[in-house]
């Protein structure tokens, strides 16, 4: 193999599994260390830079970082990254003097964002410090988009939402509530330099089976959640069936419990291992007594005298991959209400089809996945409206990228010209065997989130279930982080091949051996290197014997002992910092 190029930002970025997995590339190990030091505001700001909504995401994120966490490969469960993010948000201090300064003299550029969800808010967050005037048009009477309408208050308190939205709106955003957009054409005719569409995926899928339109007790999940969020709906029948088993279904069943439901069943077509809901959301619902019933396919609604009394299902038996099923029999399950949570889709009835804006499959606009520009220059998409339903953290990342594009567009630069990522590597050596970070491995197990007692939590839909980590829990959990951003960096010319690093490594990542191709090298290492997703770090040729140093990055616990036992400092522990380009970090244009 050729020597590893550590100046390529992607190399060490991949070693920081959590950051690599995060759509917005939040610098997770850094903010966990800041929390460990009690620097909560710094931790919050470090988060905010990339993910904009640490308080909201600390409660509701889909957490792509956690399944990726290296700790899982070491002791079976990831660091509770998301919960720690909430700690930073809960304990942070005043942000006023840390937020970007908004120029009082505007650049004259005007941008309109449609929909006040996470994508549009991120665009505003990134463009306001550059002197833009940003108008956000929102059809409802509150900002937040699906974060407000679809996530129940017992998971995300309104205050948290309000506070983080206000941080952006208070930059001087012209937020116009109760302003639905009925025509893109008329918007384009107005005096805006760019249009950003962040309208989400607002239409819940329907289930057109017999009886669907004969009762008003059959609800579309996301519409029903929205109506609960705005207080229009405050009760439901005792027996509720939820159709579908995604995260929306989990929010529907748990909301039902708080509005009078007592016997809630979530009906799934397929076996449990094929569920779309996050495992922790399933656990939380089951803890509250929701029953999850597998292998039931809905066939019709059962009505008596115009009243919904139940729903008929086929009981299915699936093959191993759950591709083919056979029907065993049909059953009728009695109920008072049914909530359909079988997915959502985009809807753009207000975009005229003769504007030159290309529309592709499933009636979705054709959007460039890098620039987020549509086929109409100056019209950008982001969030669920761009690529179909994803989640908040993806919407934020789309917002960042679209903001760069909008800035390019307004500056007359090609939107395809993307600022490159940069990388900083700084030695963490403080003394002979002293590091700027806590390098010892801590064997603590993952801390469990405490929940409000069951008896109390159903009293009000606004009672937040998760109480947050205690100080002790936080202190333990931060030490589980393996500091994957503190990289082992090797200087081949210094190595005398004494083997000290190889002998001391607790997880046997290191080997000095003859070079070869990757497949061959993987068979000749100190310990089996079977995880092909994790890179081998190969050094330049070693001066004494012409062999190479090979490190399997897979299980390194970043304890720094290789560097401590190295007599020539060939190994060093260096902090990797990914320099993520954002619109805000580009030079402020001169006002015209």
């Amino acid at each position: 193999m050729n020597p590893t190029d550590t100046s390529d930002p992607n190399y060490f970025h991949r070693v920081v599994d959590c950051q690599w997995a995060c759509p917005a590339h939040t610098n997770v190990p850094e903010y966990i260390r800041l929390i460990a030091q009690g620097r909560y505001t710094d931790a919050y700001m470090s988060n905010r830079e990339s993910n904009v909504f640490p308080g909201i995401l600390g409660r509701t994120c889909d957490r792509p970082c956690e399944p990726a966490c290296r700790r899982t490969r070491i002791d079976g469960s990831p660091v509770a990254i998301c919960r720690l993010k909430r700690v930073a948000s809960d304990l942070r201090g005043d942000l006023t003097d840390r937020l970007p300064v908004i120029p009082t003299t505007k650049s004259g550029r005007r941008v309109v964002c449609i929909g006040a969800g996470p994508a549009s808010l991120t665009v505003a967050n990134d463009l306001m410090p550059l002197g833009y005037e940003v108008v956000i048009l929102e059809q409802l009477d509150k900002a937040g988009g699906l974060m407000r309408t679809n996530i129940p208050a017992f998971r995300l308190p309104a205050e948290t939402l309000d506070e983080e939205i206000a941080t952006i709106v208070d930059m001087g955003v012209d937020l116009r509530l109760n302003t639905p957009v009925s025509s893109l054409r008329s918007l384009l005719a107005q005096d805006f330099d760019a249009v950003f569409i962040g309208t989400g995926a607002p239409r819940g899928k329907d289930l057109d089976i017999p009886g669907r339109h004969e009762s008003d007790r059959i609800h579309i999940g996301i519409d029903w959640l929205g109506s609960v969020a705005f207080g229009h709906t405050d009760k439901i029948g005792e027996r509720v069936l939820i159709i579908g088993v995604g995260n929306t279904a989990m929010d529907c069943c748990r909301s039902s419990l708080r509005l009078g439901g007592t016997a809630i069943k979530v009906m799934a077509r397929r076996p449990r291992s094929f569920f779309k809901a996050s495992s922790w959301e399933l656990e939380d619902a089951e803890e509250e007594g929701v029953e999850i019933i597998v292998n039931h396919a809905p066939t019709r609604f059962v009505l008596e005298d115009g009243q919904l009394v139940g729903m008929e299902f086929q009981r299915l038996e699936w093959d191993e991959q759950a591709r083919h099923s056979t029907v065993i029999d049909t059953v009728v399950i009695p109920c008072d209400d049914v909530i359909l949570a079988i997915g959502q889709e985009n809807a753009f009835p207000w975009i005229e089809r003769d504007l030159g804006l290309e529309v592709g499959e499933w009636d979705m606009p054709v959007v460039d996945p890098v620039t987020f520009q549509s086929s109409l220059p100056g019209v950008f998409f982001g969030g669920d409206s761009a690529m179909g339903p994803k989640n908040i953290i993806w919407a934020v990342e789309h917002g960042h990228q679209a903001a760069i594009s909008i800035h390019n567009h307004c500056e007359g630069t090609a939107v395809s010209s993307r600022p490159p990522q940069g990388v900083n590597l700084v030695s963490q050596k403080m003394g002979l065997t002293e590091w700027s970070y806590h390098n010892d491995y801590n064997p603590s197990t993952r801390q469990r989130m405490q929940h409000v007692e069951l008896t109390r939590r159903f009293q009000s839909i606004g009672t937040e279930v998760e109480v947050g980590f205690s100080a002790e829990q936080t202190a333990r959990e931060v030490q589980r982080c393996l500091n994957c951003d503190i990289q082992t960096v090797f200087a081949a010319p210094l190595c005398i091949e004494c083997d000290a690093c190889i002998d001391i490594c607790p997880v046997q990542c290191l080997t000095i051996t003859e070079n070869g191709d990757e497949a061959d090298l993987r068979t000749r290492l100190s310990a089996p290197a079977k995880n092909l997703d994790q890179a081998l770090y190969v050094s330049a040729v070693l001066p004494h014997t012409g062999r190479v140093m090979v490190k399997d990055e897979d299980l390194c616990v970043h304890c720094g002992l290789c560097a401590e036992r190295c007599p020539t400092a060939a190994w060093d522990m260096q902090k990797f910092e990914l320099l993520i380009p954002l619109a805000v970090s580009t030079p402020v244009p001169v006002a015209t």
Binding site: T433, D440, C498, P506, H544, V557
Partner: protein, 349 residues
């Protein structure tokens, strides 16, 4: 001193030996030697050989005297017995331990100072008695613990870190062993575990005293340009006389060494020692020829490594002394101590 002890976290794919133990179970305390010390690599090689040979840790006795090398007995096999004796006095203690319990695997760790200066007399007599044990000399040519004075193994002409040359003749433990009747002599290099581990395994299976002289550079005081025991010098002058492969009893012989020119020597416990002479015609069972080879190699300035001499025929301490075939702990008390009446019978004749 490292800032932390080696974390107990392990690689989840770690192999287990016949006893169900991983190599981490054969580790010991955290080394306090200098970073990059050759001794730590020797420790790692011993750890590896003990794990590979499925040795129960409680059947190991670690013995040492004084010096940097003597400390290393604490750094492997934390479940083993151990005795840290006076300077140079490890051999008599090892003799006693081996005499009392012939089932123990005795591993003596010594250095060039402990063995070739203050302990030279004891070492010579240990060889004569052919005590069944592994005797490791971690040889770096200097007294590291007292800041780098020449030891008795320093070569003529090699210099200290400050530049003074040595004029005294070195003692070579291989020649010493050959002259007083050693039955297993090997030399290795701490920087070459591929060679060292099979040698240790063979030494553990040898019936009698196995001396392994390991060039183990002192990274702090003797790893400089004037040294003949530095990492670089050893690599540049290392000539492997033999390539050794140890095949345990009841294991199919599919060695890592190509078959051509291989000599197989059956060992006492049923294992097989296979090795190939690198210079054609080197015969490690012919003492006279070995002396000749080593003498001429020394003249050429070569550091000869590998299993250099082996004799599986000579008797060990227990056979020579016609002792009990059981460890003393398993001999009934009445037999061990026949009582004062019997004593009166043998006394004052």
């Amino acid at each position: 001193m490292p800032s932390i002890v080696k974390p107990l976290v392990t690689h989840p794919g770690l192999e287990r030996n016949a006893l169900g133990l991983t190599i981490r179970d054969y580790e010991g305390g955290m080394s306090t030697l200098c970073a990059g010390c050759g001794h730590d690599s020797v420790t790692a090689a011993i750890t590896h050989a003990l794990w590979e040979s499925d040795t129960p840790p409680h059947m190991i006795a670690k013995l040492s005297g004084i010096g940097c090398s003597a400390k290393t007995a604490a750094y492997f096999a934390r479940g083993a017995h151990g005795f840290n004796g006076c300077h140079g006095r490890m051999p008599p203690i090892a003799t006693g331990a081996s005499a009392a319990n012939r089932d123990l695997l005795c591993i003596g760790i010594s250095g060039d100072g402990d063995s070739l200066s203050i302990g030279l007399g004891h070492l010579a007599h240990l060889v004569r008695r052919n005590v069944r044990m592994v005797y490791v000399i971690e040889n770096n040519g200097v007294y590291g613990l007292t800041k780098g004075q020449f030891s008795a193994s320093a070569d003529v002409g090699s210099t200290t870190k400050r530049g003074e040359a040595n004029h005294l003749q070195p003692i070579d433990p291989m020649f010493l062993g050959l002259s007083v009747g050693a039955t297993f002599l090997a030399r290795g290099f701490s920087g070459d575990k591929r060679q060292l581990v099979p040698i240790f395994r063979a030494a553990m299976a040898h019936r009698g005293l196995a001396i392994i002289d390991v060039i183990s550079p002192c990274v702090t005081f003797n790893d400089h340009e004037g040294s003949t025991k530095s990492y670089l010098f050893t690599r540049q002058h290392d000539v492997q006389m033999t390539v050794t492969d140890f095949v345990p009893p009841a294991e199919e012989i599919t060695g890592i060494i190509p078959d051509q020119g291989v000599v197989s020597i059956p060992m006492h416990d049923g294992a097989t020692l296979r090795f190939r002479s690198v210079p054609d015609g080197y015969d490690p069972t012919d003492r006279l020829a070995v002396i000749e080879h080593l003498m001429s190699a020394k003249g050429r300035g070569e550091i000869v490594t590998g299993l250099l001499y082996v004799d599986e025929q000579s008797s060990d301490l227990h056979e020579l002394g016609n002792t009990t075939d059981k460890p003393l702990t398993q001999v009934p008390y009445e037999k061990l101590c026949p009582g004062s009446a019997a004593l009166a019978g043998v006394g004052f004749r």
